[in-house]
Symmetry: none
Subunit: 205 residues, 4 copies
DNA sequence: TATGAATGAGTCTTCATTCAT
DNA sequence: TATGAATGAAGACTCATTCAT
């Protein structure tokens, strides 16, 4: 009973190593299965195909992350956004949440975010960006409502979503220790909040 | 006279299209040469390699860019850095320069910056980041000299270099028109300068 | 049970034929695998490489030969070398041993010795020559000890090792029947022993 | 007028280097012509094809050698063969002749004898062996006439021809200096003559 | 004399995938 | 559960050769 899943997990662990090292496209099922002590054919018992194997490595952490983000976003919309001084603390909380989730399975996220080219997860970063952008748009529009003659700068909004996501990718890539990560992300977040407040609105026409 | 170089240029043009679409690694010499109306073997008359073909697409614009950056950096170091309010204008100039260079052959830079994985140009972005980081470090240290008890936050510095480069990559990717690009990069640059001034220094120990 | 290994053996048999006919370098995996009734790709299930396929043909007989030679040499060094009249009989035994081993898989040795150019076995003859030379040097130096004012003629020693090896290669190439081979090698061996005794020493300085 | 042949000779010189290094089969016209400072196509102005280029390197020295050998052989047959003690001196003369010819263009003969696999000269060594064998057969038969109940050992005869040729190939390969070569070949020749006299005849039936 | 361009057949190799057992 | 075998298409690359100019 315990052994039944042993091989499956070994396979996934080996896949993780290979994907991390070579990326999805250049990873070889041959060498993954060899490392796991099985034949190529055996992989197809556990997964539908190469992409399925990638999913097995990456799907579960991804789900957790997604869920946490949605939860946070829906909480966020309920709070009173009129006091933008609170945005700071919110961002700190969000950052802490992100970091704890991302570093819970750092390799999986490294793979997902940086090594998925060629797989069906290829565009995942853009989906994240889309989510953030959409959420921030709502926030920004509330904010804009208080400034007649101003409107949301859409390009800036999109770019900020990019930067925010990439801040996490960069962190994940460059910092192995989650505690250091938390410390390092702080000025980054501050800068982003300040920049957001200062530049998210542009003159209407 | 016009026809003499026709095929070589056709080849490179087709390679450009393929690289842009699929990236270096997934691009196929077969389909490139087919598109150019020649055999695979013929490619090797014009280029040494698949990598050489990539270089033929990308090397010339890259050289121009490199040279301009070096020029700008060496000019920059000669100017008086004590007035950091001037940093703004400098950045605007630099941004304008970058944009004019990048958009002079947008596809080539799109390929170079975003589609070079697998080629010998793979790490080019990191090299750019390194250049910027090194240059900004020098600036930051001059800046730090005026604030006893402060030192340069190296992680932030590195991240900013990342962000700066990615700002251009993002622009190139999302905005086809150089004039719009110039307009859109402005708040981005402003935000980066402000953030830089505000967060590049951290408490010593 | 018989069929299980059928294809692998068929492949190796076909490879043997092709290598024998064209040599390693000019042999084509296409035509080998076609002859064996499989695709080129299938070859790579059985072997790592073209070179690995060559090894599959050649390695086992080579190992046997090597081992027998080492055994013989170590026995040889233990016997009393003072009576050089015994050298004759020893050589006959050695020759008989060599012939029985070589003709046990004549094609494999033909390939190994004469058709390996381009493979990792390319220098095998030189390695054999080295072995023989080294062993004969030891013998010759014992012999030389009995003749003051004489020393071993190194060029002649090396050449003799060449001739000895080539005597076997020549035999293998020209004589299909091992019994005839045994008969034919005899005067050759005699001549080599006589020549050895007569010319292996030269005047000191 | 002098320059007209300059390129042709440069081509041939470069071909020589490449053939010597890689052998006929692995030599590349591309790299030969590149080394000679011309295009691949230009080679076909000077030669019919790759094999023709090989011939251009090798044919002239070969002709000289052939002619000298024929001359020597026909002289040899005219002399009185009843005194076999003279055989020694004859061989010394022949060896000196061979060495002077072979070392007159050592590289060319190295190529011809050791690097011709794949070219039309591939079997040249066998042709030499055939020539020597044929000539020696005539000699041996005169010799045999004096020993009733004896006949020529054909295998030994053939093998001796082999050894003789290979003695020169070995020399050429291992000894760069013709004077040393002459010294080193002496015991080799002596041994061959002695062996010849001792073993060329076998019992009739 | 030579070039520049191109061909076309060939090289070995890698890969994800399938499937009977 | 897994294996062993095999496929077939594709990969980059090399080569001798040809030929118009």
């Amino acid at each position: 009973m315990e052994k039944e899943y042993a091989n499956r997990e070994k396979l996934i662990a080996c896949a993780k190593i290979e994907f991390l090292e070579k990326g999805f496209a250049k990873a070889s099922l041959r060498s993954i299965s060899a490392a796991a002590g099985m034949t190529t054919g055996a992989v197809y018992f556990f997964c539908k195909d190469k992409n399925g194997l990638f999913g097995a490595v990456v799907e579960e952490p991804l789900q957790k992350l997604m869920q946490a983000i949605h939860q946070h976003f829906s909480d966020d919309m309920k709070t009173d956004v009129s006091h933008f001084q609170h945005i700071d603390g919110d961002h700190d909380d969000f950052a802490a949440l992100m970091i704890s989730l991302l570093y819970a399975d750092r390799d999986a996220f490294l793979i997902l975010l940086d090594k998925s080219a060629g797989s069906s997860y290829e565009g995942i970063i853009d989906r994240f960006i889309g989510m953030i952008e959409q959420h921030n748009l709502a926030l920004a529009q509330k904010y804009a409502a208080a400034f007649p003659g101003k409107r949301v700068n859409r390009y800036f909004l999109h770019w900020m979503a990019h930067v925010e996501i990439n801040a996490y990718v960069h962190l994940l890539t460059h910092e192995a220790d989650p505690e250091c990560a938390l410390r390092e992300i702080k000025p980054v977040m501050n800068m982003m909040v300040e920049g957001w407040l200062a530049h998210i609105l542009e003159d209407d026409i």
